[in-house]
């Protein structure tokens, strides 16, 4: 833990957003993570994204499982509703929460252990349901809070602090998510805030499950030589293959970006994600193409980053279920209880 607050915290932009709130209003308690932990940079990016999106703090629900990563919801937006739940169970809890109140904005923070080991099943099924939420995996290749065991995202050959090499094939959340039909898939690096912030914003506006896998080095247990999740290694191998700008509804100039074109995708709420390709002929709306494209980078040892895939046409959980627009938690009892007359009528069938 660092007694000095993170940079962002030290010099908050005093510029208020549309709600009249400053960046500082989106901060949380002081981090208790190790100084230099990648997770803290992600926290800072989340703070900025929410601030720039003018999110009313109390309309935000931030959930997590258990782990160093899962501690971070305490470190942003004190004014939001937080739930630091149980190890690997956040996806189901978020699903239920969203079922009950579709009005709030949901952010789930998880770790590679929390999401790819104990929580693998729940994460995959939350993706299948396309629960409307931003799902952040703070991926460091180890179990930080339990002191550095390999996680399921550790690469083959990656060395532990004690020097032993991991022998099991890694689970790549990006590939996995694309494979099982995720509608928003991104990868970034805690050290690359410029890339991170717009992706987070787009994810927060996505009409469904927005998964972002963020390589987030664990300085204490996995930042050494031989680790493939260290700052050094990631800086060396990270390759932004597509850049995304998020253009909120207001400032949108539709003329320029014919909706549907591969260059810009119109979000559910009218805002637009504008893609600027870095890698030639990369189409972030073609799942199959994206998959093979990523495989190529993988085999050449590169970590492709960016908002890799986006399908805004899909239905989220509520669309598919045809749930009322009013949050179920607010539907009046009268609208829910059929009453005695109906009961008596019904019981004629029970004779």
């Amino acid at each position: 833990m660092s007694y000095i607050k993170k940079p962002v915290a030290r010099h908050p932009s005093l510029q208020p957003n549309a709600l009249g709130l400053t960046l500082r209003d989106y901060e949380g308690a002081m981090s208790t993570l190790c100084a230099g932990c990648g997770h803290d940079s992600i926290t800072a990016a989340i703070v900025r994204a929410l601030y720039e999106l003018d999110t009313p703090p109390h309309m935000l629900a931030k959930l997590s499982g258990i782990g160093c990563s899962s501690k971070t919801p305490t470190y942003f937006v004190s004014g939001a509703h937080g739930f630091n739940s149980a190890h690997g169970r956040m996806p189901a809890i978020a699903t239920g929460a969203s079922a009950a109140n579709r009005e709030l904005t949901y952010i789930g923070i998880s770790g590679d252990g929390d999401s790819l080991s104990i929580g693998l099943g729940q994460m995959c099924h939350a993706i299948r349901r396309n629960v409307k939420m931003l799902y952040v995996i703070e991926n460091n290749g180890v179990y930080g809070l339990t002191k550095g065991q390999f996680s399921a995202s550790a690469d083959v050959g990656s060395k532990s602090k004690k020097g032993e090499a991991n022998s099991q094939a890694p689970l790549d959340p990006v590939m996995l998510a694309l494979n099982i039909g995720a509608t928003f898939v991104a990868r970034s690096f805690s050290g690359d805030k410029t890339q991170l912030v717009p992706i987070l914003k787009a994810g927060l506006r996505h009409n469904g499950f927005a998964l972002i896998d963020v390589i987030s080095p664990c300085v204490t247990f996995n930042d050494h030589e031989g680790s493939t999740k260290s700052y050094k290694y990631t800086r060396k191998h990270q390759l932004p293959i597509i850049e995304a700008d998020f253009v909120p509804f207001a400032n949108e100039i539709t003329a320029e970006y014919p909706p549907g074109s591969a260059h810009s995708v119109k979000m559910h709420d009218g805002s637009v994600v504008r893609f600027r390709k870095v890698a030639a002929d990369y189409d972030p709306t073609d799942r199959v193409a994206v998959l093979s494209h990523l495989r190529d980078h993988q085999s050449s040892g590169e970590i492709a980053t960016g908002l890799l895939y986006l399908d805004e046409s899909s239905q989220d959980m509520h669309d598919a279920a045809k749930t009322v627009k009013t949050p179920l938690s607010r539907v009046a009892h009268e609208e829910l209880c059929p009453g005695n007359a109906a009961l008596q009528k019904l019981q004629q069938a029970f004779r």
Partner: protein, 609 residues
């Protein structure tokens, strides 16, 4: 033979042996329903295998004018339609009884019984002659015996006809073949046997204000009326039909005719760990949410139940108990999850349990469960079992008070929050040991951080002993405060009763019947049926009043008795157990012998002393 048996009117039992997946269910249902409509107290117990098609299955019907409709194993009549179990079925029939069988094939002579009257009807032949399609022939064979029974037991054929009309209103062809099959069986009986048997039915009007309903349907209905909007569940016998019914009712009552929009959200989870997680998430957001499962599911929910307890999130869990341990016998009934549910999860935890005894109580307790869960901000279990949940019961018509409004417990409104300087989730403590909560999205001041890790009374993270204990002690007080807010026990006293008999849930009818029999044998006992945990003063009072108390329950390890031992001041010495845990619904006989045998013991002992 027959004279051996006196005339038995509205007081006998019969059993039907079939092969599952051959339509016998609907035939047996018809019989049960017809008797019900004749105004006679009746019960039907479906003893089915954990299998989809082809294995033996039985259906037991008991009619009893006095209303004693608990299961009984002494059958006056056996309908033996399953060759595979024929031998066993013949044996089970009581002496002087009748056995109805398909005489299309010769009977195995070695299985004849001189003390039983064999009634043969060539069902296979009759149906082969009457029906063309082969599948129809098998199905109608079973419908056919409905007619025979109508003749033998004098079931009102008018009623049967009426029921067919209602049932197949939309399928005239099916109605016709059913009618035909029934008539076939009826005519054959009239023609060949002396009908009705001394065993017969006579119209009464004991059921006109009652309905025929299974517990799972009633539970689901209760959840709808309580205003539950979110359900997270995973299929498991015998609880699946709770959600089937909930879905049905929601489609009917909660779907906007115009837009098709739904005022509910049912989530078929990937497993029970997810199901309970969804319920916790939804309740956290302020919706009324529930899950329904059975033993194995409760085991899997164990970790998150502790989270709901410690973070104080209202959670309603329906446990339709089946036979454990492990997969056990999924289609058999038991009360084996009482202790697990009372103390579910690691660390110090105690929960609220409700024990309905029949579908009527399932309906009302479902509503109570939500009120208690929100009032005490904690998990509440509704413990039913396969017998209550999946069998049809005759219960008084359900009534609903339209004045009812959900008890949301201690929840702060927008205005409350507006007025207060600062909100803390876990204090101040009110008289129930709870503290005010807020619902997300209502007001910026209402935001707070929920956690399953150590927290102090302000909701802040802590690792300090006193702060931790502070909250844990309140949770203990809270559970204690629930004592007299839960449904009271049902207590029935008898003159000069020396002993008390305590039971729970589905044991009700069998025990009440047993007490009558015991009284006849000179043993008068007071009766108490516990309906909830923590135990209220009424329960404690009853226990204190009696020098000897028998606890009747359906599990091996005397779980209710254990809970009483731990959670009341009753001395163990006066508690004795009557246990039945084979998986079939409890019988009065089991209770009578259980009590008598130990009364004897007792005297022997006192002699020794």
């Amino acid at each position: 033979m027959q004279d051996a048996l006196a005339l038995k009117i509205n007081d006998f039992a019969f059993k039907l042996a079939n092969v599952n997946g051959t339509g016998s269910a609907s035939a047996n249902g018809l019989i049960m329903q017809a008797i019900f409509r004749m105004g006679i107290p009746v019960s039907g117990k479906n003893l089915f295998p954990s299998n989809i098609q082809g294995l033996p299955t039985w259906y037991e019907v008991r009619v009893n004018a006095k209303g004693h409709t608990a299961r009984t194993a002494d059958y006056d009549l056996m309908v033996a339609m399953n060759a595979e179990t024929y031998a066993r079925d013949v044996k089970e029939l009581k002496s002087g009884g009748w056995l109805l069988h398909d005489s299309s094939w010769p009977l195995d002579k070695s299985l004849m019984r001189p003390d039983v009257t064999f009634l043969g009807v060539p069902y296979a032949r009759l149906c082969t002659e009457a029906f063309a399609d082969s599948r129809e022939r098998t199905l109608m064979k079973n419908i056919c015996y409905v007619g025979t029974l109508a003749a033998l037991l004098s079931i009102d054929m008018e009623l049967v006809a009426e029921m067919l009309k209602e049932k197949f209103a939309k399928k005239p062809a099916l109605m016709e073949s059913n009618r035909k099959a029934i008539q076939l069986g009826y005519d054959y009986a009239i023609e060949h046997f002396e009908c009705p048997l001394p065993l017969r039915l006579k119209k009464m009007d004991a059921t006109k204000d009652s309905i025929l309903i299974d517990g799972n349907t009633a539970t689901a209905l209760g959840c709808v009326y309580a205003g539950a909007t979110v359900a997270g569940w995973y299929p498991i016998t015998p609880s699946t039909s709770v959600l089937d019914a909930f879905k049905g009712f929601c489609e009917r009552y909660r779907t906007d005719k115009a837009t098709g929009e739904k005022r509910y959200c049912i989530l078929q989870a990937e497993d029970e760990l997810a199901a309970i997680g969804m319920v916790i998430g939804a309740s956290w957001m302020g919706a009324r949410a529930f899950t329904s499962t059975s033993g194995p599911g409760i085991s899997l929910m164990n970790e998150l139940i502790g989270l709901a307890y410690y973070a104080e999130i209202p959670t309603v869990i329906v446990d339709v108990q089946r036979v454990g341990p492990s997969t056990g016998m999924p289609t058999r009934t038991q009360q084996g999850d009482i202790l697990l549910c009372a103390y579910a999860s690691h660390g110090d935890t105690k929960h609220i349990l409700l024990f309905p005894a029949n579908p009527g109580e399932c309906f009302h307790f479902a509503v109570t469960a939500f009120d208690l869960a929100e009032r005490f901000q904690t998990p509440v279990f509704i413990l039913t079992d396969l017998d209550i949940g999946m069998n049809d019961w005759v219960v008084p018509k359900l009534e609903w008070n339209d004045q009812y409004r959900p008890d949301r417990g201690h929840v702060l409104t927008k205005d409350d929050l507006e007025k207060m300087p600062k909100f803390f989730r876990y204090s101040p403590e009110d008289e129930l040991g709870t503290a005010a909560r807020t619902l997300p999205g209502v007001h910026s001041k209402g935001a707070f951080f929920t956690r399953g890790s150590g927290h102090n009374k302000l909701g802040g993270y802590t690792e300090i002993p006193d702060e931790y204990q502070d909250v844990m002690d309140r949770l203990a007080r809270k559970h204690k405060a629930a004592r007299n807010k839960v449904p009271k026990a049902i207590i029935e006293r008898r003159k000069d009763a020396k002993i008390g008999v305590v039971t729970v849930g589905g044991c009700d009818l069998a025990v009440r019947e047993a007490l009558e029999q015991l009284e006849v044998q000179g043993v008068a006992a007071d009766y108490m049926r516990i309906r909830a945990f923590p135990f209220g003063d009424d329960v404690r009072g009853f226990l204190d009043e009696h020098a000897q108390v028998f606890v009747v329950e359906q599990n091996r390890d005397a779980q209710l008795r254990s809970l009483i031992t731990l959670e009341t001041s009753t001395s163990k010495e006066k508690l004795r157990s009557v246990l039945a845990y084979g998986g079939f619904p409890l019988q009065a006989e089991q209770v009578v012998t259980g009590v008598l045998s130990q009364l004897v013991e007792r005297t022997v002992e006192s002699v020794r002393e």
